[in-house]
Symmetry: C2
Subunit: 315 residues, 2 copies
């Protein structure tokens, strides 16, 4: 966890230090929203940073807790926002990793009840994991009289902007069976909107189910290590010491890096502020130190001058 | 908390001991569902117990976390199920007490955003507490474009079988204002249905909002003391030492009694089993001891032989 180029903890770095970091690391993991873009608006310079890293022979992957779209759509989104050289294999979303977990780790036999958006269901189907059909219930169906599928072996909760009481109640009923697995794509509590409003995240919906079921969820996405295991299984020879995790959220991205033994970088274009990171650093509770980034930049566009320095150096 | 007639803790009592308890106590607080009835089915003998207590000059009140119907409807329900001598003044529901809290304790100035059933809204309106109109949103409105009321000073969460993502998102947005109060009628995690299915309770919906807002809710209903304060303010001279709280749920009813300094009785016609009470009693964690009832009966109909004994005694 100790940063290679200074004492651990919120080190704000610039050109020369970023250059050293670029030389030292082979593998760059980027969170997406808040790091590369906000919604449909790319962060200025981000696309150039990503394509320069790839051109320089670095491994670049994208690690996102957003479970709402299948990876296919991510490729389109990257392209649409100017990240033109990103391929499917570089994208590790919490929905994709959830599908791998269900298929390859727990080898689920039976259907999965999904609280989530269509993209999550698509990932499961692409991986051959059967899901309960999205409610064909009558509009006035209730938990008193609706049908429950007989062979549900897992409940998987992701972000769901069509969440209803009936879905929550059905999931609670399925979870009464201790053999039924209880998984969440991620545990993000909320997401910011540009209007200043917020969206409740999967972590919010999951908390409701944890209380109703009296059970504890297993989280697939960041900060759980499983997403790094997915990456390691698809990119042979990944060495954590050679990786840099770049994200905007201390409680997911930085903790994920910390959990996986990666150096971490906070970019200030998203959710978390440097003051929060400093509070964690100064906390007497040592578990809080796992939220502290090794490095801090204002934006990943701060990589660009470092690339120029490298070019000058090599000329 | 020590039972007056034996060592504290899960004492299963019968005729003679119940008789002594009836002689010793002036004030009986009953939870409703699981104690007096299951849904629309009265528990055999319960109506007779209640009317006998009243006829014998005991004070009897009903303390329910169910916020779905106004007290008026409770009177009708009592009557319909054979409890013919119950009056409005005896009913302390979490919705009624929430209205008193908002009006008299925090003296809310502005509107209340309610997640809950119509009965909750009715109680607030009866108390003169203005609520945000139930969504007149277009069916496809989202948190991106819906209207938010400008003067929301409290979010109140109760059981809501019409819960939607939009309601959750709106409440999360209101709660970003630290001046906006965050209240729950109760914290019940789930409710049993006769089919073996369960309903997520207010506690489940509240947990979702706690995560999305990063705030902690204030609970009005049991096990909070506030419902007992409502009773004390309306029945002058209530002495906790003279009270018996009868309920079916350790984590709400027994803890409520314990929090208010009342003797407690668990009846086994509802949610909690005697084994759970014994586990709490045997726990090394002393906070768990607050869940332990002083007395246990199979059903409150076990009071009936005690009444007969008293009658024989007085003849």
């Amino acid at each position: 966890m100790a940063g290679a180029f200074g004492l651990k903890g919120c080190q704000k770095i610039r050109g020369p230090q970023i250059r050293s970091l670029l030389e030292a690391k082979d593998f760059f993991l980027f969170d997406c929203d808040g790091v590369l873009w906000h919604g449909e608006q790319a962060i200025s310079g981000a696309a150039q940073v990503v394509s320069t890293l790839i051109r320089r022979g670095k491994n670049v992957v994208f690690v996102t807790n957003n479970s709402t779209r299948p990876r296919e759509n991510y490729v389109h989104k990257f392209c649409r926002l100017g990240f033109t050289d990103v391929m499917l294999e570089q994208i590790f979303s919490s929905s994709y990793c959830s599908a791998l977990y269900l298929r390859d780790v727990v080898k689920v036999r039976g259907q999965v009840f999904v609280i989530g958006c269509d993209g999550l269901r698509t990932e499961l189907q692409d991986a051959g994991v059967p899901c309960v059909e999205e409610a064909a219930d009558e509009p006035d169906a209730t938990i008193y009289d609706c049908a429950l599928a007989p062979d549900v072996k897992a409940v998987l909760v992701g972000y769901d902007d069509k969440m209803t009481f009936l879905k929550l109640a059905k999931a609670s009923c399925y979870l009464r069976d201790p053999q039924c697995l209880f998984l969440a794509t991620d545990n993000d509590p909320w997401h910011p909107l540009s209007s200043g409003r917020i969206l409740p995240g999967s972590g919010s919906l999951t908390a409701a189910l944890e209380v109703a079921s009296g059970r504890k969820v297993t989280v697939i996405g960041k900060p759980s290590r499983f997403m790094f295991e997915c990456i390691s299984s698809q990119f042979r020879g990944v060495d954590p010491a050679q990786c840099l995790m770049v994200g905007d959220r201390l409680e997911t991205d930085m903790l994920f890096g910390s959990n996986c033994g990666l150096d971490t970088m906070l970019t200030l274009t998203g959710v978390s502020q440097i003051e929060e990171a400093q509070e964690y650093r100064n906390s007497e509770l040592t578990t809080n130190h796992s939220f502290v980034p090794d490095y801090v930049v204002d934006t990943i566009a701060d990589f660009l001058p470092a690339f120029e320095e490298l070019d000058e150096q090599s000329n």
